[in-house]
Amino acid sequence: MKQLITFIRKEFLHVFRDRKTLLMLFGLPIAQIVLFGFALSNEIKDSKVVVADYSKDAVTRQLINKIAASKYFDLEQSLQSADQLQAAFKKGTIKMAIIFPQNFATDLIHTNKATVQVIADASDPNQATTITNYVTQIITDYNAGLANDAGQPMQILPELQMLYNPELRGAPNFVPGVMALVLMLVCTMMTSVAIVKEKELGTMEILLVSPFKTIYIIIAKLAPNLIISVVNLFIILILSSVFLDLPVKGSVLLLVFDSILFIMTSLSIGLLLSINAKTQQAAMMGSLMGMMLPTMLLTGFLFPIENMPLPMQFLSNIVPSRWYFIIIKKVMLKGLGFSSVWKETLILAGMCLSLFAISLRRFKIRLQ
């Protein structure tokens, strides 16, 4: 036990002596979260909007005037065919189209209900959400002052349509994505580099000739990365709740538990990588190409997995961060409990255990 503590202390010395890596370890998540915080707080002004008014009555004119008066929109009032609208969206010259159908005012007066169609270019989901919210707000405001002769409320229903990205993946996705990415990066890369470094230095042989047990070497190598990762996890959670208004809605304990499962899984992958890598560079490249890319592409926070071709969807099942990402989204953003993430937790636990067992075995065999 005392030997193990000596070893773990040495590992921490390595970490603290290497200022550049230390800066990267803690700076990376902070930078990402803060940058994203700024991106979120930016208002969207003067979005190009096209209004297609097929009704041309008093009500639509009033609404259009209100929208035109808003600083958020830059109105281009010209009647265009559906084809022209589509072409404009594709070219990106307009961000939103507001379409009043024929007999808008008549419908409103006779049925107390009228529908206005709002189409937004959601390839940038943040922008699309923001500008449709602005329009909806304007329409709701206008609505409040409306009543028919009989005093019954009349409703204008904005019908929203998000083009290209109907699920509006974006903002809240980012924090869980950063979490998955940072934890994966730190655990996998740091672990494999730390072990390969000893091999490269020749110190690994000395350790193996010493009475120090192999399992202790592994534990000592994993311990600092586990602790650093947990610290990182809390930094991200605090930053995102303070700056991004994304607090953990569900149980923090559950989130931490699942995070540790994910961290252990990533550590095991790091171990596995270190067995085959001969140089620190190889270990680094292995982690970057082998882990970072699949994490970015197949986790679902940059590109929705549902929209991927089937083989890619299938492949994404073996990426641990995919399951972790689902868990954080459910627990952190939706506030769901264990009953709704037990399946993902079980998958993660299974991956963690089997990867750790495999890497442990392979590690021992390799050292013989």
Binding site: G202, T203, I206, V209
Partner: protein, 259 residues
């Protein structure tokens, strides 16, 4: 060539600390080390020579407990290499050809770490650290990062660290690679000093002048021990002026190439 087991040039009363009898290691069909038989006495400096790929490292790894032999017998400090590797590990020190300290730790931290993984008490480590730094005249460098020391010092420190837990035997795997002749000489002074205190030195080397410093030398060719005797006797036997001549005479017929 029959390996010479007995060394008539030396009369020591103590039991041998290393014994090997027909020690063999096969990797598939490849016989890396073939029926090695030799004994090393306590306090002896035993040189282990051979071209690259001759099987030196394999033999050394078997003796250190890093590799399990395929067949044959061997004991280190009286312990069996098959069944008592853990006990062996406590009794041996090891210094690899790559210099083996941590660059980003200080001199004192390195000593402390290696003492620590051998389970030494903090007090013991402190005493040992002072003693060791004094011997190397590095007292002022205790808090210096190892990366800032010149290579020669690192190597000497590395050797001293391999002795920090007072082992019976220390294995040195090409310890003086890349070091200038003066430092090499100083390094050998340290080796002699340790041997005088009764530590057995098992050293592999490429440098033939170093072979001259050993009490006895074994020369491996293609996995077998081709010659084993004191440097003086080997030179007589092979009618050479230097160990270089002896080595060349034996190694030129080697079939295995550098791997």
């Amino acid at each position: 060539m029959q390996p010479t087991i007995n060394d008539p040039g030396k009369q020591r009363s103590t039991r041998p600390v290393i014994t090997a009898e027909k020690l063999t290691k096969k990797f598939g069909h490849f016989i890396a080390a073939n029926e090695l038989t030799f004994e090393v006495e306590k306090g002896e400096i035993f040189g282990f020579l051979g071209a690259n790929g001759a099987g030196k490292t394999t033999a050394m790894r078997m003796l250190c407990g890093l590799l399990t032999p395929s067949s044959g017998k061997a004991t280190i400090a009286g312990f069996d290499v098959y069944t008592e590797t853990e006990k062996i590990k406590r009794r041996i020190g090891y210094m690899s050809q790559k210099f083996s300290l941590y660059d980003d730790l200080t001199v004192a931290e390195n000593i402390r770490f290696y003492g620590g993984i051998y389970g030494m008490e903090s007090k013991q480590i402190k005493i040992k650290t002072t003693e060791l730094l004094q011997e190397l005249q590095l007292q002022d460098e205790a808090r210096t990062l190892v990366r800032e020391l010149p290579l020669g010092w690192k190597q000497k420190l590395s050797f001293s660290v391999s002795l920090v837990h007072n082992p019976d035997i220390v294995f040195l795997d090409e310890p003086t690679g890349g070091v200038d002749p003066v430092t090499r000489r100083q390094f050998w002074d340290l080796i002699y000093h340790a041997a005088d205190k009764g530590v057995t030195i098992f050293v592999t080397t490429h440098y033939m002048d170093e072979a001259e410093y050993c009490n006895r030398v074994s020369i491996m060719v293609d996995g077998v021990i081709a010659a084993l005797d004191s440097p003086t006797r080997l030179k007589q036997q092979f009618a050479g002026n230097t160990m270089e001549d002896v080595f060349y005479e034996l190694a030129r017929n080697a079939k295995r190439k550098d791997d």
